[in-house]
Each structure stands twice: as C-alpha cells, then as structure tokens.
C-alpha cells in the first residue's frame, strides 16, 4: 500500500505492507453489489495523510442520487491502455442502475442498428427490407434484453443469438 503521494515512483510516499483484508461477505466475484472491502495496514504511515469521513446511510443516499456530480481520483488506465504515474482526477455524474441498464441496452441496440444500417447500405437494401432483417435478428435474441441487466454484472456481450 502506497500512502501520501501523487506520483507512483520509487522514493515517493510511504510503502506499507498489509496485515489483514476483510471483504464484504455478500460480495460475489462478478457482481457490482456489495463491492466493498477493508484493508488493515501493518503500521500507521510516517508521511502526511488525511482520512476521509465515511458517509452515514442518510448522506450516502443523498450522494447516490442520479445527477450528483462527483470527482473520481486514482491512477487507472488512461486513453485506452496507457498507465499513468501521476494521480488524475475526473468529474463524473452519478447514474441510477435502472438508467445505467437502459443506457447499456440502448448502446447495444445502437451498435446493432448501425451494423444493420451498414449491411443495408453494403447490400443495397431498401428501408422495408432493412427493417425485416432487423426484426428477424431480434427475434433470434435468446433472452429478452431487459433481463440481461448489464449494470448488475461485469461486462457481458451485447446480443446472444440463438443458432
């Protein structure tokens, strides 16, 4: 665990080993629910740091309202796959799970409809023919899309066509 630095480099901050890890017992590998854990450090950091105040249930609900703007910080991958040594921050907006599901399904549907549109232009299909192909395609989708609930789980393929 590296504490008290923006920069991931040797000699920066205080590197502390981990003594214990406590995971939320209801967390299962692929799900977004109960995605929380505690880590106990072997000692307190010797560099300056601050603690956050964990919001109580009421304040947590206020923060969890769709549209609330919040800042995320960290060192994740940027611009696709590049790692960053410097801590970054970005402003995001909270999204309800329902909304998230809709958005994911919509983007899946958009990708599919763009594919159909491309195929239609490549084969010179007319509007009614293209719509017939679309109807044919969605009639082969295994489960109703709404039950897939993509924001409950990790990434899943957009359409599963039954052969």
């Amino acid at each position: 665990m590296l504490v008290g630095t923006n920069l991931l480099a040797e000699g920066q901050g205080d590197a502390i080993s981990v003594e214990k890890i406590i995971r939320h017992p209801a967390y299962v590998g692929e799900d977004f629910d109960n995605d929380i854990a505690l880590i106990k450090l072997s000692r307190a950091p010797t560099v300056p740091f601050k603690t956050i105040q964990v919001p109580d249930a009421e304040f947590g609900d206020q923060l969890d309202t769709p549209g609330v703007r919040t800042v995320v910080t960290g060192w994740g991958l940027i611009e696709g796959a590049q790692r960053t040594a410097e801590m970054r921050q970005a402003e995001i907006q909270m999204l309800s799970r329902e909304n998230c599901n809709e958005v994911m399904l919509d983007s899946c549907a958009k990708a599919a409809s763009e594919g159909i549109a491309y195929a239609a232009s490549a084969f010179g299909l007319k509007q009614p023919e293209a719509e017939a192909v679309w109807q044919e395609l969605i009639s082969h989708v295994r489960t109703p899309l709404i039950f897939e609930r993509p924001c409950m789980y990790r990434w899943k393929p957009c359409l599963q066509i039954a052969s």
Binding site: R43, F49, R83, T84, K110, S121
Partner: protein
C-alpha cells in the same frame, strides 16, 4: 524555391513533378500547368528590396495578387467575411467589414509582417483553421448517414441564450444584469455579452457533445465541455455553460481527466503488487484512508479470479 525569385508557375510544377518521379522511382501521374498565368512569376519577380512580394509603384506584382493597387480589398474568407485585407501601398493590412483602413487612427489596422505579434498572420492562420474545421464537420455529417435506417430515439439538443453585458472601467466586463434572450438563428453578440448554452439529452443513451464557439476573428474556443472535463452527457442529463462573447481563450480537451494537484487528495492510496518496484505497472487498485491503519477499498480489488477462474481473496 526561395533561391529563384522569378520562379514561374510552369517551373514550380515541373520541379514538383520531377520530385514525384524521383521519389516514386517509376512513371507516375504528374501534374501539368497551362493557361495565361503559366509563365507569370509565383512571387512576383525580383524587384529590389522585396524578395517575396514585389511592388511596382503602388501596385502589387505577385502572381495571383497581380494588379492589386493601394486600397484594393481582398476577402479573407468567402463566406460572409468579417475582415478584409487591403493593400496599403507597402504592406497588406487587415481591416473590418467596412473596408476602412486605419479607422481608429493612423496605423490602427494590423499590418502583415509588422511587429512581433503579427496579428494578420495569426488571423489568417485562424481563418484557415476555421475553414478546415468546417469542411471536416461537413464531411462528418455526410458520413453518418449510412443506410438511412435507425431506431427511433429522441435526439440531444442545445439551446442558446444571450444576456447583454456592459463594458466597465478599463474595458473590463461588468457582471451582466440584463434579460436573457433566446438566441436563435443568427444572433449577434458584442463584447462582454454573456452567451449561455443549455444542453439536454432526453435519449436513453449517453451522448458525447462538443459545442464550439467561433469568434468574429475566427479563433475557436470550446463552450462545452469546460476545460479538461469529459464531453459526455448522460441520459436525462442537462448541462449549462456560460461564456463571455469574444473572450479569446482556446481550451483543449483532455481524455481521462486531469492531473491532480500534489497533495490535493491526501487520503487517496494506491494498492501495489507486493515485492515489485514502485511504478505505474505495479499499481492495480486504489483506496481511501479511513483511520490511521485502515483503508477502504472495493471488494473487486482484493477478490478476483485466479488462473482457473476460481474467485479468491488476495493474501495479505
């Protein structure tokens, strides 16, 4: 090219053709030139004292600019020019739509090649940039209409409001207090006016939107998103941004947020792979200090699939 002051168009094209052939190493389609301009000099001959732009009396003798006499005006851009270029007799100068040279006093109109901040050269570059952007956007619009088939969905929209501002002391803008008026079609904003844009995304999907503000002098700046933030508009989201008209700062967009100030997030910690040197490659997750020796993190950071696909907690 620079060494031949009276280079003609024919010579220029021949030189280009030779270069193309020597580079390709075989017969290539080569450009050709013909017509009444073919043997006129590109840079206007070798008149003494002027290397690239030759002048005879008050007339410009420079290829396509031939016969431009004092106070002849040239359009900088063909579509509704806000600025024109005039020949002053010794230099090219930039004037307003009215074509009046030095309307604000002697030497007020910027001259080409005059002074360190060559205003005219900057403006010409900006106009060129604007024209390129407009062409690129026009092409983009054509490309998106493939197939003509799409699912019915509501489209995101942008609305503009204009609030008249006042110029305070020392040309600084006072806080605008007037009524906000819907700006539709061709609205004219003057210095210090506040332009407000409201974006709405009623669609079920998120959209990426960028709203550019093109200044009267063709400089381009961004109204949405604000600097360094994402241009993504979530489903059902509404965003408002206001900008002072003619405020000439150009903002760039950074994907992936911005670099945080040192010490700005003192509770943020990094989870690193034990025993590896401290580098970005060793980092795999983040967390927050909640007590002296306790860190809050996500369960997915410490509970993941092993090589056999079995989910396990990491060992401390």
């Amino acid at each position: 090219m620079r060494e031949v002051p009276d280079l003609s168009y024919t010579q220029l094209v021949q030189a280009a053709a030779q270069r193309m052939q020597s580079k390709a190493g075989q017969a290539v389609q080569t450009p050709d030139v013909e017509g009444p301009m073919a043997d006129t000099p590109v840079f206007g001959g070798d008149a003494p004292g002027v290397s690239r732009i030759a002048v005879a009396g008050q007339t410009l003798m420079a290829g396509l600019l031939d016969d431009v006499t004092a106070n002849s005006t040239l359009d900088v851009s063909s579509a509704d020019p806000t600025h024109r270029v005039v020949w002053t007799g010794d230099r090219l100068a930039l004037v307003g739509r009215d074509g009046v040279l030095d309307g604000q006093g002697a030497g007020a109109s910027p001259r080409l090649g005059a002074g360190e901040a060559d205003v005219l050269a900057t403006r010409l570059t900006q106009v060129a940039g604007r024209i390129r952007l407009e062409r690129a956007l026009a092409q983009l619009g054509q490309g998106s209409r493939i197939g003509g088939f799409s699912l019915p969905s509501s489209k995101p929209g942008a609305a503009f409001k204009l609030q008249t501002g006042e110029t305070g002391p020392q040309q600084r803008c006072a806080k605008p207090s007037g009524q906000r008026v819907d700006a539709k079609g061709k609205a004219t904003a003057s210095h210090c006016d506040m332009l407000q844009v409201t974006l709405k995304n009623p669609a079920a999907g998120m959209v990426d939107m960028t709203v550019l503000y093109i200044h009267a002098d063709s400089a381009i700046s961004m109204l949405w998103p604000s600097q360094d933030l994402s241009n993504r508009l979530e489903s059902g989201a509404k965003a408002t941004r206001a900008a002072e008209a003619e405020q000439a700062d150009s903002a760039g967009r950074v994907i992936g947020g911005e670099i945080a100030d040192s010490g700005a997030w003192p509770s943020q910690v990094a989870l690193l792979i034990a025993g590896q040197p401290v580098t970005p490659d060793a980092q795999f997750c983040g967390g927050s200090m909640i007590l002296d020796t306790w860190v809050l993190t996500a369960a997915r950071c410490i509970h993941m699939a092993d090589a056999n696909g079995v989910y396990r907690d990491l060992n401390p």
